[in-house]
């Protein structure tokens, strides 16, 4: 909802002019960065571990290898394995694993050397339940913008028992189109807690962008995930980070994750629900 407000405000902006500039920046100390998590299905079972770099580093993030990474749910479950030399810094669960809704999982990282101010980091996250996606619809609105927009709408019964937070991503013909955090959609249930979500617009796709628009015959898959409030806030903060619009951006601040000892990033755990649609011929 608030995201919607902000996108409306952006439309109001009198377009300013931009130019690239050089800025001299200092370097702060190196911190550990954790990114990844687990789900209640086989969608995600890995974390990546890297280090921060100077702001204009302009290379892939320096990965951290040879860490001991373990998953627990109060008691030890498994060790995540790094596949070397193919994927340094990516640690994956070796066996098929399914998280359980309502359970809290812990991630423990032991580093071969101190990074930041610690050699051991940990994090916990609970798997929240998700509203079951009934169906989705793709609607073409020719009046929006120059070439029209596709609106992807979702239909689901909101459980309504507590404050729920949702993450939405979509796939076109099996390819994840919401391929960076910037393209993810999120929603809380403030406006429809406990009621039937009847066609909330989750994505708006510009038909003028050939790399993302839809065509008859395309298979569209929407993934809806039930996430924790902390992860919801984290996504929102990451999406805002770096951009300053003086009309409504607050002062820039570090994104808050859930990694101990001043680590950056998030270890997440969530449940998924899917709905599929083949775009009909007109």
């Amino acid at each position: 909802m608030n995201k919607l407000l902000f996108s409306l405000l952006i439309l109001l902006l009198i377009a300013g002019c931009t130019e690239r500039i050089n800025v001299n920046l200092d370097n702060s100390y190196i911190r550990l960065v954790v990114d990844g998590g687990i789900t209640n299905d086989s969608m995600l079972q890995s974390v990546s571990i890297s280090k921060t770099a100077s702001y204009f580093y302009n290379q892939p993030p320096p990965m951290v290898s040879h860490a001991i990474v373990t998953l627990s749910d109060g008691s030890f479950l498994d060790t995540l394995v790094e596949e070397l030399p193919a994927n340094p810094g990516i640690y994956t669960l070796p066996k098929k694993f399914r998280g359980v809704i309502g359970k809290t999982y812990g991630l423990d990282i032991k580093l071969p050397e101190v990074i930041g101010n610690a050699a051991e980091y940990s994090s916990i996250c609970k798997i929240m339940k998700v509203a079951r996606l009934d169906s989705i619809q793709a609607e073409f609105n020719p009046d929006m913008g120059k070439n029209g927009h596709w609106l992807i709408k979702i239909y689901a019964q909101e459980p309504g028992d507590e404050m729920n937070f949702y993450l939405l991503r979509y796939y076109r013909n099996g390819v994840l189109m919401s391929d960076s955090i910037q393209k993810w959609s999120t929603s809380d249930d403030k406006f429809f807690n406990g009621s039937y979500i009847k066609g909330l617009t989750a994505f708006r796709i510009n038909n003028g962008n050939p790399w993302e628009t839809l065509h008859p015959g395309d298979t569209l898959l929407v993934q809806m995930s039930g996430i924790t409030k902390e992860y919801y806030d984290f996504i929102q903060e990451v999406q805002q980070a770096g951009y300053q619009i003086p009309f409504f951006s607050g002062p820039p601040a570090n994104v808050e994750g859930n990694i101990s000892n001043g680590g950056v990033g998030f270890f997440t755990a969530y449940s998924n629900s899917f709905a599929k649609l083949v775009i009909p011929t007109k």
């Binding site: 407000l5 300013g16 002019c17 910037q182 009847k198 770096g242 002062p251 820039p252």
Partner: protein, 783 residues
């Protein structure tokens, strides 16, 4: 009740006979009256009434009235006002006299016949400091963005005042936040003074008479804000003849009609303006643009009625709206204010004003109906207030001002509702809140000996939250524990404050003076906004059980000296300011449509200091001012950052040059140049990559600065020939904003490259390059 005692206590010393400085055996009489403009009958505010024999005098109040008590005798009294011909008058004072003095505007053709030594030395001899008054003619000469001359943009050129961001109507006074400025239009509070996202202010020049900015030393009759008071007065209308004034600019036009309803007794003024950039949109070939709306309009109206010598009433109102809509969104916002005022003269020495005000600020934001995401968000803020002010010219040595005010505030932070049948949204109502703010004050201006004037007073303020209301209780970590709901009419929270106001003036024989002041102020209402430029989506929130009132203390010391028959005024002022309970917000605060806003507020202390140098010119050929300010402003809010950090308005070095040259009878050239140290900003000092996005790791709050800001604006005005009895006159104004096309930083974004996501770069946004414009103004007069 307590307040009453305080007031009695304050008045006591004045009641005792000892307070009268003149010996009792000399007979005294009072001269009182009004000073007005000869051509249109409007009262002159701050005109000087000088008694040559006594080398003393007074100035007229906001309504052009004065009162002087003198021993019996024959006096030469000189009435004068900037831009008007001084007028001497010999009076034989053997009884109380009431008179009306009309001053004529100085004609450019006339030779200097004026006795210069008697005029406008107020800068030196008035006990008020840290104040800047401008009449509308001064403001109209300043080159402006798109030719739209603007009161607030003029204010931002004064020493000690900073614009919060390029083009914005928000301003910071002596390191204070923009919401710490009280903006009054005919005594009614204007909560949001911006049009078009702040590029223009709500004040229409043609309807404004003068503006006064108090940067410190705030008089006891004002309260409720920490940093400053901007007092804008609307024109009263010509009571002698009809006038039509108007202007046609590139983005807006305006028209003002004024005249007598009953000659010399009752006058009216109606003024309107509208921008019309959007009227050309239907001509656009872009289909999507054709249905866009983007405009604002304003209406000002005032009726002034002088019932008799002792009673004058006026009724004034303002209404303005901004409207924006396109296919995705619609938005509108605006202010409405109304003022009814009764000036009553109880006796030659006791003047009274009764004012009742109404103010309303509202906005809506929404989407067009008929889609699943259709919704509309409404919010508004309403004030009803009543105020009584007395001025009692007790004797030549003492002038006592006292009175009180009560204001009822109603704030609706937001009602968001799904609209249309297809919407998926239900509705949300953020709890409304209600409060009563009251104040009682008394302040005496006392002349002690022939060199010293002391102003001492106190304001007692009271703020009460009344039901219905919901108060959330928080843990020290700002987590909601539970809430309390209060029924209608119940006063569930009360704050009060004692606000001393002191001023001292030592006058070195009328040529130079030293002034010192101390003022304490309380602020009970603040703006929930943590952005630097501000949007129309203002949410004001009051002091409450969770939010303590903000308290400000300011001390200032100044040296004032005039040269060349008071045509050059100079001053140096230093100030130091402490603030308690100042507001900031937690990182990534979510301020819109939340009922637990207070849980996101972080409070602490603030302090600022500075030195301001000002040279103000009032020569025939050259007028304007040059100022240099060095100032710092910090916030110390431990929950934001352990150590103090620069406030967003901390721009240490600041220069303003605002000059107008009357190069020939029909030609005038204006220029202003502003320079300010770049605003403080937080920059990344590292980066992490999460889910494909590079996120910045930031420095300490405001550890870096933008590039320095500077800009030159120019204007040339060509006027029609001045002929006596001519009914129609005009002028043509060409102006250039940002004449040397400097790309001043509005913001800097850190962007991840689209092609290579490993690459990040800094990108500057600037709003304005060089902007030329032309405005045609006309003036029609019928006697």
């Amino acid at each position: 009740m307590k307040f009453f005692y305080y007031c009695c206590f304050l008045l006591l010393p004045l009641m005792s006979p000892g307070a009268y400085a003149l010996p009792d055996n000399v007979k005294k009489h009072t001269i009182s009256g009004k000073v007005t403009d000869k051509t249109d009958g409007e009262s002159l505010v701050g005109a000087t009434v000088f008694v040559r024999e006594m080398k003393t005098g007074t100035t007229t109040d906001q309504y052009g009235r004065f009162s002087l008590t003198l021993p019996e005798g024959i006096y030469n009294i000189v009435f004068s006002f900037i831009g008007y011909t001084s007028s001497p008058l010999e009076i034989t004072l053997n009884k109380d006299i009431s008179l009306k003095m009309e001053l004529a505007t100085e004609q450019k053709e006339l030779q200097e016949v004026v006795v210069r030594s008697d005029r406008n030395d107020q800068n030196v001899v008035k006990p008020q400091m840290s104040v800047f008054k401008m009449d509308i003619h001064t403001i109209q000469k300043i080159p402006a963005l798109m030719g739209e001359v603007d009161v607030i943009k003029a204010i931002q050129l004064l020493p000690g005042v900073q614009s919060v961001s390029e083009g914005s109507s928000g301003y910071s006074v002596r390191g204070g936040a923009p919401d710490q400025n009280l903006i009054l239009l005919d005594e009614a509070t204007v909560y949001n003074a911006s049009h078009l996202m702040g590029f223009f202010s709500v004040f229409n020049n043609d309807a404004v008479k003068d503006v006064k900015l108090y940067k410190g030393d705030i008089p006891a009759n004002y309260g409720g804000r920490l940093a400053s008071v901007l007092d804008v007065r609307m024109d009263e209308g010509n009571s002698k003849g009809y006038e039509v004034n108007g202007g046609i600019g590139i983005i807006s036009s305006r028209i003002t009609i004024e005249g007598p309803i009953k000659k010399e007794k009752c006058s009216f003024i109606v003024s309107g303006r509208r921008t019309y950039a959007d009227l050309f949109l239907p001509l656009s070939s872009n289909k999507a643009l054709q249905n866009n709306r983007l405009y604002f309009y304003d209406l000002n109206a005032k009726i002034n009625y002088e019932i008799n010598d002792n009673n004058t009433i006026f009724l004034s109102g303002y209404f303005g709206r901004d409207v924006f809509s396109n296919q995705f969104a619609k938005m509108s916002w605006g202010n409405g204010t109304g003022t009814f005022r009764w000036n009553h003269v109880f006796s030659k020495k006791l003047f009274f004003n009764l004012t009742s005000v109404y103010s309303d600020y509202r906005y809506l934001l929404g989407t067009p109906d008929g889609t699943s995401n259709s919704f509309q968000w409404n919010a508004n803020l309403k004030d009803f207030g009543i105020k009584g002010d007395f001025s009692w010219y007790i004797n030549p040595k003492n002038t006592l001002r006292f009175g009180g005010a009560v204001t009822y505030h109603m704030i609706n932070p937001g009602t968001a509702t799904g609209t249309g049948s297809e919407t998926v949204f239900s509705s949300i109502q953020v709890p409304k809140n209600y409060s009563i703010e009251s104040g009682l004050y008394a302040s005496n201006e006392q002349k002690i000996g022939s060199h010293l004037v002391a102003t001492y007073g106190v304001r007692l303020s009271l703020f009460q939250s009344i039901g219905p209301g919901t108060v959330y209780h928080y843990t020290p970590n700002h987590v909601v524990i539970d809430s309390a709901v209060y029924k209608t009419g119940i006063i569930y929270n009360t704050y009060g404050g004692i606000e001393p106001r002191l001023g001292l003036l030592y006058d070195f024989n009328g040529k130079s003076s030293v002034k010192a002041s101390y003022a304490r102020t309380y602020q009970y209402l603040q703006l929930a906004q943590n952005s630097s430029a501000g949007t129309p989506l203002d949410i004001w929130f009051p002091a409450s059980p969770n939010i303590k009132p903000q308290i400000g203390d300011q001390v200032a010391l100044g040296y004032f000296r005039n040269f060349r028959h008071n045509t050059i005024e100079t001053s140096v002022e230093v100030y130091y300011k402490w603030m308690q309970n100042v507001i900031d917000f937690k990182n990534f605060a979510q301020l819109l449509l939340v009922d637990t806003l207070e849980g996101q507020v972080r409070t602490g202390r603030g302090y600022s200091y500075g030195i301001e140098f000002l040279v103000r010119l009032n020569e025939k050929i050259v007028s304007g001012w040059v100022s240099y300010t060095y100032s710092r402003s910090f916030r110390n809010i431990p929950e934001i950052q352990a150590n103090p950090y620069p406030a967003p308005y901390d721009k240490p070095n600041n220069i303003s040059v605002v000059l107008n040259f009357q190069v020939a009878k029909r030609w005038s050239i204006s220029a202003n140049w502003v320079y300010a140290t770049g605003a403080p900003v937080t920059f990344p000092t590292g980066r992490a990559t999460v889910a494909g996005k590079v996120i910045p790791i930031y420095s300490e709050r405001n550890a870096y600065r933008y590039q320095d800001y500077h800009r030159l604006d120019l204007a040339v005005t060509f006027s029609s020939k001045e002929k006596p009895k001519r009914k129609f006159s005009w002028d043509l104004n060409f102006s250039v904003y940002n004449a040397y096309n400097r790309h001043n930083t509005w913001s800097i974004n850190f962007v991840q490259d689209n092609v290579d996501p490993n690459v990040t770069y800094a990108e500057k946004i600037y709003l304005f390059g060089i902007i030329p414009s032309v405005t045609f103004n006309f003036h029609f007069k019928h006697e």
